[in-house]
């Protein structure tokens, strides 16, 4: 978090445009990471990151401090990146719903066993990249950025329970993908 965020936002909104560089310097890389993991392309991600910061600048006077600046920034980045992928109609791997239902919760826990296996961790990283854009965003936010469930819910615009269900489904999907790769 930036030192004296409120004061900084107030001054930018009042016309001290150059102070916006502090926000950009502090959050640009993190926002870029989230976007690139959602859209997958480096060029598109850079352009989208710029768009996100321009949008943030435009809407900064309306920021109501109900959540942290970083959560608000991530929400804008998430929405921009997701609408971009929808527009591009990217194709992702589909997993049969019945197969997902058949995976037991105890079975999913086995995924933890590969935490120390270099090869399987690489396979798991590849599996993450096969998830759809929204799931990849959640993995990035929850596992990479280590954001809380409530933060994820705020960013994605869903309830906390919904996020928990989706994270559980992601674990099941990753388990299936790992199983398929090792077969």
């Amino acid at each position: 978090m930036l030192h004296n965020e409120k004061e900084l936002i107030k001054r930018i909104a009042e016309g001290e445009t150059e102070l916006f560089s502090h926000i950009a310097e502090h959050y640009a890389q993190a926002v870029h990471t989230l976007i690139i993991r959602i859209v997958g392309s480096e060029e598109d991600a850079e352009e989208l990151t710029q768009d996100v910061f321009l949008r943030v600048f435009e809407n900064l006077p309306y920021f109501n401090h109900k959540c942290s600046l970083s959560t608000w920034l991530y929400r804008i980045a998430y929405n921009c990146a997701i609408s971009f992928t929808r527009h591009k109609r990217q194709q992702y791997l589909q997993i049969d719903e019945n197969r997902l239902r058949l995976v037991d919760d105890v079975e999913v826990e086995q995924i933890e066993a590969i935490a120390d296996n270099e090869q399987k961790l690489n396979a798991l990283a590849r599996a993450i990249q096969q998830l759809n854009a929204e799931e990849r965003a959640l993995v990035t936010l929850f596992y990479y950025e280590e954001r809380s469930v409530s933060d994820c819910a705020e960013i994605v615009g869903q309830s906390q329970n919904n996020i928990k269900v989706r994270l559980h489904r992601i674990r099941k999907k990753l388990y299936i993908l790992i199983q398929d790769e090792t077969k």
């Binding site: 445009t17 321009l54 690489n122 596992y143």
Partner: protein
């Protein structure tokens, strides 16, 4: 909710390219350009709104004072009752609105000076 160690580790493994070193500089150029555009739009909107308010005030004053311009037909004739109410409430209202418009102009003038200074810098 429990965070899976394996997934966390795997997520850290996915390579993420860093932003080019000149990204912030380029972004700030766009931000400055957008700030100027935003201010220009704001100024134009304020001027149009002020002109609208002034036109309304002038029209109101003409109605209140029942000025009969020989060449302008405003098409509205007030009866005695309405004319009385207009005089009672109209003058203070016009005064308040005029003050608001004046304040808006002064604020705008100060802002314009700030922008000019920024451009000079």
């Amino acid at each position: 909710m429990k965070r899976s160690k394996a997934i966390s580790k795997a997520a850290q493994r996915i390579s993420t390219p860093t932003l080019p070193s000149d990204f912030n500089a380029r972004l700030m150029v766009s931000v400055t350009r957008q700030a100027r555009r935003q201010r220009r739009t704001e100024i134009i909107t304020n001027i149009i709104a002020s002109m609208g308010i002034i036109a309304m005030i002038v029209y109101g004053v003409i109605l209140m004072l029942e000025i009969d311009f020989p060449k302008i037909n405003f098409g509205i004739r007030l009866d005695a009752d309405m004319s009385y109410h207009m005089r009672m409430w109209g003058i203070p209202t016009v005064f308040v609105v005029a003050m608001l418009v004046a304040e808006m102009f002064i604020r705008q003038h100060i802002r314009m000076h700030k922008i000019r200074d920024e451009i000079k810098k």
